[in-house]
């Protein structure tokens, strides 16, 4: 994530692991899918939000 910020990606959604960006093998299949859904919801929120500099969308923006 620090790389994403450093190179200037304007909208960033943090994930839990390099080998599984839209997943989490420590969860059961249903919960993992729910986590994937959460990430995409945050991504949609991010593209609907105006930003002026690299901004992290980690779910604390109260969407």
């Amino acid at each position: 994530m620090s790389i994403a910020k450093r190179v200037g990606a304007p909208r960033i959604v943090p994930t839990r692991g390099i080998p599984y960006p839209t997943g989490d093998p420590s969860l059961g299949p249903e919960q993992e899918r729910a986590w994937r859904r959460e990430l995409l919801e945050r991504a949609l929120h991010a593209v609907m939000t105006s930003v002026s500099e690299p901004t992290v969308f980690d779910g604390d923006q109260g969407q």
């Binding site: 620090s2 790389i3 450093r6």
Partner: protein
């Protein structure tokens, strides 16, 4: 207790006298024997030979504290207990190497002469090279375990030959204490790869994977407490040999102005959240140890840059001067960004050269390890063109080498 080796050869019995190390073939093959192997062969090579070792997996410095090892390589040969006290006999200038194929191992090259020789620490040692073939019924994991066990046994066995000999030098290595002698306290942070099979490093014979940073005495390194089981990124490799002869520890011991205060071992997790935890914890640990500065080393490729740069930032936040030793991956013409993960505010880093720059290595007479270089699909004896990335320890992130992209200092 340092015993210098100036000559190496195979013979009937293992012996050491007047700088000449003779390796007893039968005894050594006996120590290496394991159901995982269909065949084991021994070869010797010395600095200056027109020899190329291809597919180097690990290298170990012969050391022993007594018959049977006396406790060295805890957890693998000796009992799994802290070491680093008392006398240890080392055969300086000799090494036991293993070369061949293992899964996930990237082909590593050592040239004992020629332009690539100054780039590898093992080109300056008299090497006993172990070659092997896997038994059909064995798995590669079995082979990996058998090699590691065999290697440390042989290393201890060879040093045992010098136990009764008067050492060429005796080095007094003190354990760091909580002494307040006025000099700045500097810690060494040793980041170790912990990615499972063929990509792990062993402390007291066990992996640090899933654990938190810990502190051991630097003297434990000399007794083989850290043994490598990872075989990737040849130029960035930290073989057991360099853990035993840790260059940063040695440089701090040699410094009159700084005190070697602590050695911190850290696993290198793959995921970001754990990297952040380990690095933050390590920074707190360093603060608790009363360090004024810390030098962080790494293991592995670009992903592992984060394990160093995160620590540099967090250490600086704790008011500890932080230095990182990092290799650059600046592309073939050297104009790409040097680091995969840059620190956000720390800036003190030492460069161990560009991974991607290419070199031409001349043809050689004899090879040990692998007969063909799979990467190039050429016989190992050919003249070959390779990136620096393939030369064993050329960019040593433990600081062994002189390769750098830094501008010369006036």
């Amino acid at each position: 207790m340092v015993h210098e080796v100036h000559e190496l050869g195979l013979g009937e019995h293992t012996s050491y006298a007047a700088g000449r190390l003779t390796v007893g073939e039968e005894s050594v093959l006996d120590l290496l024997r394991d159901p995982a192997f269909a065949d084991v062969r021994l070869g010797c090579t010395s600095p200056g030979d027109r020899v190329r070792i291809v597919g180097v997996l690990d290298a170990v410095q012969p050391c022993s504290k007594g018959p049977g090892g006396g406790g060295v390589f805890p957890g693998l040969l000796g009992p799994a207990l802290p070491v680093g006290r008392g006398s240890t006999h080392v055969l300086r200038g000799a090494a036991v190497l293993v070369a061949g194929y293992l899964p996930r191992a990237q082909e590593a090259v050592i040239d004992m002469s020629g332009p690539a020789a100054p780039l590898s620490p093992l080109a300056a040692t008299h090497n006993l090279v172990v070659e092997f073939a896997k038994a059909d019924e064995a798995t590669w994991e079995d082979v990996d375990v058998a090699l590691r066990r065999g290697l440390v046994r042989v290393a201890a066995h060879l040093a045992e030959a010098a136990l009764e000999t008067e050492p060429d030098a005796v080095e007094q290595l003190d354990e760091p204490g909580a002494t307040a002698n006025g000099k700045p306290r500097v810690g060494v942070i040793l980041n170790l790869q912990t990615q499972g099979k063929f990509k792990d490093v062993f402390v007291y014979g066990r992996s640090l994977s899933g654990g938190l940073p810990t502190v051991i005495s630097p003297c434990e390194l000399d007794d083989g407490a850290v043994v490598s089981g990872q075989y990737g990124h040849p130029s960035l490799k930290n073989p057991t040999y360099l853990h035993q002869t840790h260059p940063v520890v040695a440089a701090l011991r040699a410094s009159d102005e700084l005190e070697l205060a602590a050695l911190v071992l850290c696993p290198e997790p793959v995921d970001q959240a754990n990297k952040e935890l380990i690095s933050a914890h390590a920074a707190r640990l360093c603060k608790g140890l009363g360090l004024d500065a810390a030098i962080a080393t790494k293991e592995g490729g670009g992903n592992a840059d984060a394990d160093v740069t995160l620590k540099l930032d967090l250490l600086e936040d704790e008011g500890i001067t932080a230095i990182g030793i990092l290799a650059e991956m600046a592309g073939r013409d050297g104009t790409g960004p040097p680091l995969v993960v840059v620190p956000s505010h720390a800036t003190a880093m030492v460069s161990t050269g560009n991974y991607d720059e290419r070199m031409t290595l001349p043809a050689c007479e004899r090879t040990l390890g692998r007969e063909r270089i799979a990467l190039l699909d050429q016989p190992s004896t050919d003249e070959i063109e390779l990136p620096v990335a393939a030369i064993y320890c050329a960019q040593s992130t433990l600081g062994w080498g002189r390769l750098t992209c830094a501008e010369p200092v006036a």
